[in-house]
C-alpha cells in the first residue's frame, strides 16, 4: 500500500509541498492520524513555515470553490485544513498532540470524519 501524493500545490506554493506531503489528507479522520502521531517539533515546524504563508494560501483558496475542482486546489485545501486543526497544538497546547486535561479524543466519533474535501 502506498501513501497518496498530496504534495502537488498550485503555482506559487512550491515551498509548502514538503509540508503538504506530511500533513495534507482528505478527511478529518485521516488528518487525525497524522496529528495524533506528531511531536512538538513537528507542530512547531508546521506552524513556523505555514503561518507566514497562511494569508496567501487563504487568499488563493478564497478564489476556489468550497468543493475543489482540481487536484492542486484540493491539495491546497487539505493542507489548510490540516493546519487549521494542528495550529492549536503549537499555539495553545505546548506542542502536545493531545488537548491537555481532556477526554480521550479517540473516543470522539465524527459523523463527517470520512468525508473528503
Amino acid at each position: 500500500m502506498t501513501t497518496a501524493d498530496y504534495s502537488r500545490l498550485p503555482e506559487g506554493f512550491a515551498d509548502l509541498e514538503t509540508l503538504a506531503q506530511i500533513w495534507a489528507r482528505p478527511t478529518e479522520n485521516a488528518r487525525n492520524v497524522v496529528r495524533y502521531a506528531a511531536t512538538a517539533s513537528d507542530f512547531a515546524a508546521f506552524h513556523e513555515t505555514l503561518f507566514p504563508r497562511l494569508g496567501a494560501l487563504l487568499a488563493y483558496l478564497g478564489d476556489c470553490p468550497a468543493q475543489p475542482e482540481t487536484a492542486e486546489q484540493r491539495n491546497a485545501l487539505m493542507l489548510a485544513c490540516a493546519y487549521a486543526e494542528a495550529a492549536p497544538h503549537h499555539e495553545l497546547y505546548g506542542g502536545s498532540s493531545e488537548v491537555p486535561f481532556s477526554f480521550d479524543a479517540h473516543r470522539f466519533v465524527a459523523d463527517h470524519g470520512d468525508v473528503s474535501v
Binding site: L54, Q73, A80, F103, R107, F108
Partner: protein
C-alpha cells in the same frame, strides 16, 4: 419591538428572583445515583415528553429517512419524509413478527426509500413511507390478513423551526407547541435552516445522562476547564436568566478569549464574509435585547435533554449555533451528541476557516467531557449526597426540580 420584548417579561428573572423561586439549598444527587430512578425516568419522562430526534434539513427530499436508536424508550424509530413532503415518525418495527424494517448501523442511520416504500428484509413486507402496509408476499397463505390495520406504528411527530420532535405517548398530554410554550417565542424566527453545514460528534460516556447534561448547562466552569482552549477568557457574564415552564435559558456575555495568531487569520476570513460575520440583528428580539456587542451565545435547556446554543456568529467566529443532546443508554451510560452548525462555505477559504473554528470548539468539548465520568464515579461512591449550586448553575437546579415533578407523576 419594545412591546414584543415586554411580552416575555414574565419569563425573565433577576438573581434574587431566581433564588426566591428555586431556592439556594443543595440539590440531592440521588436522582443521578439511584438506578431505580432511571427506570422511572424512562416511563414517566422519556416516554411522555417531546424529544428532538432530527432536523428537517437532514431529510430534504421525499423518501429521505433516518433510523434512530433510542434505548431510553426501548425503541428503534424511523423518521421519514413522505411523498407529500411531511416528515413522520414510526416504530421501525415490521408488523409481521417484529423485525426491524430498516436495518441500522450505530445509533443513527440515514438512507433514501426508493419509490417511497420501505421493505422488511426478513419476509419482504412493503410499507409506504407514510405508514400503510402496501403488500405482503404470499398474502393468500395467511388465510385472513387485514392489511388496513397493519401499517407501521406511528409515533406523534411535529416540527418547530425545522427541529423534528417525537412523543412516544400515544395521546400526548400537550402538543409540541404547548410543550415548548414561550421557548418557541424566545428562540423563534432565527434562520436555523440556513446553517446546513454540520460537524457532528458523539461519544458514549460512562455516566448518568444528567451528569453530562448538567456539565454543559452552566458557564461557571469556563475559566477553569477551558483554560487551555479558551486562554484568557475574560469577563464572562452569565445572566439574563429566564424560566419557561419546564425549560429555562440564560445568556453568556464576555469579551472572549485571547485569540491565537492563526485563529485571528481564520476568523478574519469569516468575519469578512456577509454570510458568516456576526449577525446580532438576526437574533430573536428577546435574546440579547439590548444588542450588547459582547454577546457570546444564548444557553437554554430544552427539557429534558437538549441544549441549543444560539450565537449567530457572535461567539466563536462564523458559528451560527450548536446543540448538545444527551441520550441515556442505561442508568450509567450516555450517548452525547454535539453538533456545530455553520452556513455553507462559499469558497474553500471559508471552509478551511470553519474547520479551524470547529476544531477549537471540538477541543473545548474534549475538555468538557473530561469531567463527566469522574463526576459520576464520585457521586456513585456515596461520598457526597448533594450538589452545591451557585447562581450561574440555576439551569441545573431548575432541571432537577422539573425532573422531580415528572418523577412524581406530574408535569411542570
Amino acid at each position: 419591538m419594545q412591546d414584543t420584548i415586554a411580552a416575555l417579561d414574565h419569563i425573565r428573572r433577576t438573581v434574587p428572583e431566581i433564588r426566591d423561586e428555586l431556592g439556594i439549598d443543595p440539590i440531592p444527587v440521588r436522582a443521578i445515583r439511584d438506578p431505580e430512578i432511571y427506570e422511572i425516568e424512562k416511563e414517566q419522562l422519556f416516554k411522555k415528553v417531546w424529544l428532538k430526534v432530527a432536523t428537517a434539513w437532514e431529510l430534504p427530499n421525499p423518501g429521505d429517512y433516518k433510523v434512530k436508536e433510542l434505548p431510553v424508550a426501548d425503541a428503534s424509530i424511523l423518521i421519514v419524509r413522505g411523498k407529500d413532503g411531511k416528515i413522520r415518525a414510526h416504530h421501525n418495527v415490521c408488523t409481521h413478527r417484529g423485525n426491524k424494517v430498516v436495518p441500522n448501523k450505530g445509533f443513527e442511520t440515514y438512507g433514501r426509500a426508493r419509490a417511497n416504500v420501505v421493505t422488511c428484509r426478513f419476509h419482504g413486507w412493503v410499507f409506504g413511507t407514510d405508514g400503510p402496509l402496501k403488500s405482503v408476499p404470499m398474502e393468500e397463505a395467511f388465510g385472513h390478513l387485514d392489511k388496513s390495520c397493519l401499517g407501521l406504528r406511528e409515533i406523534a411527530c411535529d416540527e418547530w423551526e425545522g427541529f423534528v420532535f417525537i412523543n412516544f405517548d400515544p395521546n400526548p398530554a400537550q402538543s409540541l407547541k404547548d410543550y415548548l410554550g414561550d421557548f418557541a417565542t424566545l428562540f423563534g424566527g432565527y434562520p436555523y435552516h440556513e446553517s446546513t453545514t454540520a460537524f457532528r460528534y458523539s461519544t458514549v460516556l460512562k455516566c448518568n445522562w444528567k451528569v453530562a447534561h448538567y456539565a454543559f448547562s452552566e458557564g461557571y466552569h469556563v475559566p477553569t476547564i477551558h483554560a487551555g482552549s479558551l486562554p484568557g477568557f475574560r469577563g464572562i457574564e452569565h445572566s439574563d436568566f429566564k424560566l419557561i415552564g419546564p425549560h429555562a435559558s440564560s445568556t453568556i456575555y464576555g469579551a472572549g478569549m485571547e485569540a491565537a495568531p492563526s485563529t485571528q487569520v481564520f476568523a478574519g476570513v469569516l468575519h469578512a464574509s456577509d454570510a458568516h460575520k456576526p449577525h446580532a440583528e438576526q437574533l430573536p428580539v428577546h435574546i440579547n435585547p439590548t444588542r450588547r456587542d459582547d454577546f457570546q451565545f444564548e444557553l437554554p435547556n430544552v427539557f429534558p435533554n437538549l441544549l441549543i446554543h444560539l450565537a449567530s456568529g457572535c461567539g466563536y467566529p462564523g458559528l451560527s449555533y450548536f446543540t448538545h443532546q444527551f441520550w441515556p443508554l442505561d442508568h450509567g451510560t450516555t450517548l452525547w451528541e454535539g453538533i456545530n452548525y455553520f452556513r455553507p462555505a462559499r469558497n474553500a477559504a471559508e471552509y478551511a476557516a470553519q474547520v479551524h473554528v470547529n476544531a477549537l470548539h471540538r477541543n473545548a468539548w474534549l475538555e468538557d467531557t473530561a469531567t463527566m465520568e469522574d463526576t459520576f464515579t464520585g457521586i456513585m461512591s456515596g461520598a457526597i449526597d448533594d450538589m452545591q449550586l451557585m447562581d450561574q448553575e440555576f439551569l441545573i437546579r431548575h432541571a432537577a426540580r422539573t425532573l422531580d415533578s415528572y418523577l412524581a407523576g406530574g408535569t411542570q
